[in-house]
Subunit: 434 residues, 2 copies
């Protein structure tokens, strides 16, 4: 084809129509294969899960006492056993007095935290008095860097917050816009995934971390929910170095501004890992004063199992290298196919993440939903278009999140080839309709 | 002593004074031993914990797939894996479509449920519309059968409910009073522990279960939080038979009135067990619509481990018999010492439970705090007097909860003997002051 690598937008309607017919031939060939592939969620694959099988053997539970001689099989210990706190504090980059190690779900910790703010307020900043419960403060507005994680947005949607989109720029959110928006006292906080952000994979720059920590907010009880879900989830040799937001907040004199969240969900077993919440000492005290009402404590046997299996930060990094070895070829395969099929056509941009679980693609405006629907006709499920935006509403209908981790390589490659055909078809149809 | 077994109230002041001196001799002997015993919490002892050690061996995780072929090591499955639902549904006496199997803490499930009512309302009854969030309904009142579980009362205290004491009578609450109180539309629900209630050990009668299910409540969104924590925790040969409150509510045409809670905390490992919440199909649907926002799912590996280790209801009962063998002598020892030391003196009544974790004692009015303080002077810690009442306020200062399970037999016996001396001293001092 002489028009290979020519920008679609520069083609004539005739050229586009011809190309469309060709692509439908390919599309129908795929469709007839009756495939059933699922690239919707950021799940580890079986080989990754196998890396941690040994953890559930009895050998890590020869004794049932923690290093501080606590019996882990019985009630007691609200904030986590010392070795689990040590392990998670190293990973999260905080002190052991700035962390509580909890159960299997960091999402649940974030949900709980916002519910706590709603019912009881944020508990004040340092020695200052507590804040009013958010249920008594009228409309709550919340900043949502986009594209972002659908489950974050679902929490703030269900709690009735007005969500405000803030574009991500490749190294964090548009900070000029953030600084403008927080002048509204109804804006009570924001979501963020600082490293290998879901789905763009971007790493927030230290400069933007500093601005988030230092900016003047009209709401004294402004809180950043910082989901550091991918802090050690690199694809190369080591995790990106990044200024810790809690450190930055302490330095800026706003130590209570942030809660950090993390977990071993994509280190050991999703749904059977351990999670942690970090904050200033005042924030941890605030948290524990409510946690003690909510539960007797978290699963300490699983905390002990994790601490003994992963050992320390070096142990975590060694383990994550094994994950990276499995994942790197998958991310590379996606990138290679997208490059081969779509480079120079002007119909798709995509990210080149150094970590995390996703590749984020942007189609021509108005095409994302059509692409996902088209792929589904071939039996390939992608995360629904719009999912990466609050209320599932991508105003430009451009963004699709690709989750390359779960499928075996041959399925992944077939799925991405199908995606490319669908992107071509939908782009051409869009251009022809203009 | 000629006045052994004579009612203290019938003694002269001289007799009482003489007796007091004798008791202080004994008391000081104990005090000089510098003991340090803890009978504060209902914790299983080491022998009980050892019954479940095998569960954490790898042999129960030879395969990682549930019976419906779900990979338990990965994300997915919000309502529990089928074998865990089957196991817990049998134990709770409900259908597998009337249960969600969750994480390590049933207390957390109860807290969450009340928080849900506060923020979102109860979701209506059957096909009827939803209720207003309780935060928007003004003062919330809550019935608290007393004496009861301190952690229940702490939850409703923290949520700002006005708690109303309802006396337990030996076979459940004073139902005439309950039926009167629920005529107030601000009364939105009640706590209960239907079997081997904490701390009285009483089993609610079927007649009272039926009245709770059928009574007319002014609040359409009235909810019973039924914590069936000790449903299989018998001390004899088998658990007491009891009408299931959910069945009774369905029969009475109020299927949405109750949520049942249970866990394996005192079956396998406290803090590392699995929990469950049960309700009508409409209530389970309501629950899942919020749970799906809150978390991706619970620890399915631990669910699988439990299901394979305990197998089925018969397996649970066989396991609980082994617990009963360890606990029966401890409960018997307490009863024997109390009988030997205090029977006929008219200064203490105590319960004779067939299950559960506690013996509940009632001193003369105004003596409980003094007894606990006195025992502490000898190094024996009991649950603080008042703890069994909302806001730690026992209006008559009579009730003390004894938790005989954790200490080794010789410690337990010494502690109870010390308790008896303290009861005698405080009773005499009270009578002398009158």
């Amino acid at each position: 084809m002489e028009h290979a690598n020519m920008e679609y937008a520069k083609m004539s309607k005739e050229q586009l129509s011809e190309l469309l017919s060709e692509q439908y031939v390919t599309f129908n060939r795929y469709k007839n294969l009756e495939l059933s592939y699922d690239l919707t969620r950021g799940k580890p694959c079986r080989d990754q899960l196998d890396l941690s099988n040994d953890m559930v053997s009895r050998k890590y539970l020869k004794g049932f006492n923690s290093i501080s001689n606590q019996e882990v099989r019985n009630y007691g210990v609200l904030d986590g056993i010392p070795e689990a706190k040590q392990l998670m504090a190293e990973m999260m980059g905080v002190g052991t007095d700035e962390i509580v190690v909890c159960g299997n779900s960091s999402l649940n910790l974030m949900y709980d935290m916002l519910v706590r703010f709603m019912l009881f307020g944020t508990g004040g900043n340092g020695s200052s008095g507590g804040s009013e419960p958010w249920t008594k403060q009228g409309k709550i507005k919340w900043l949502c860097p986009v594209p972002g994680y659908d489950r974050h947005f679902l929490v703030t949607e269900k709690l009735g917050f007005e969500m405000i989109n803030v574009p991500l720029t490749g190294d964090g959110p548009d900070m000029d816009l953030v600084e403008e928006l927080v002048k509204d006292p109804a804006v009570k906080g924001m979501w963020m995934v600082p490293k290998y952000s879901n789905p763009t994979g971007e790493v927030f720059s230290d400069a933007k971390i500093r601005r988030l920590a230092a900016m003047k907010t009209a709401a004294p009880d402004f809180r950043i929910m910082c989901d550091d879900a991918y802090t050690v989830h690199f694809l190369g040799d080591a995790p990106a170095k990044q200024l810790n937001l809690l450190d930055a907040c302490k330095e800026a004199g706003n130590p209570e501004r942030v809660f950090l969240f993390g977990s071993t969900s994509k280190i050991t077993f999703p749904g059977s890992g351990i999670s942690a919440v970090c904050g200033s000492i005042a924030n941890i005290k605030y948290l524990l004063s409510y946690l003690t009402v909510q539960t007797i404590g978290y699963d300490k046997i699983n905390q002990l199992r994790h601490a003994r299996f992963l050992k320390d930060y070096k142990g975590i990094i060694a383990h994550m290298k094994r994950h990276a070895e499995i994942l790197r070829p998958k991310f590379a395969a996606v990138d290679k196919i997208l490059t081969n099929e779509l480079e120079g056509l002007g119909i798709l941009t995509w990210t080149h993440p150094d970590g995390g679980y996703f590749i984020s693609i942007d189609t021509l405006p108005g095409c994302a939903s059509a692409v996902v629907a088209k792929a589904k006709e071939c039996g390939v499920k992608f995360t629904p278009a719009g999912s990466t935006y609050p209320r599932k509403n991508d105003p430009e209908d451009r963004n699709i999140r690709i989750a390359p981790t779960l499928p075996p390589p041959e399925e992944l490659e077939a799925a991405i080839k199908i995606l490319c055909v669908c992107v071509k078809i939908c782009s051409i149809e869009k251009l022809l309709a203009e």
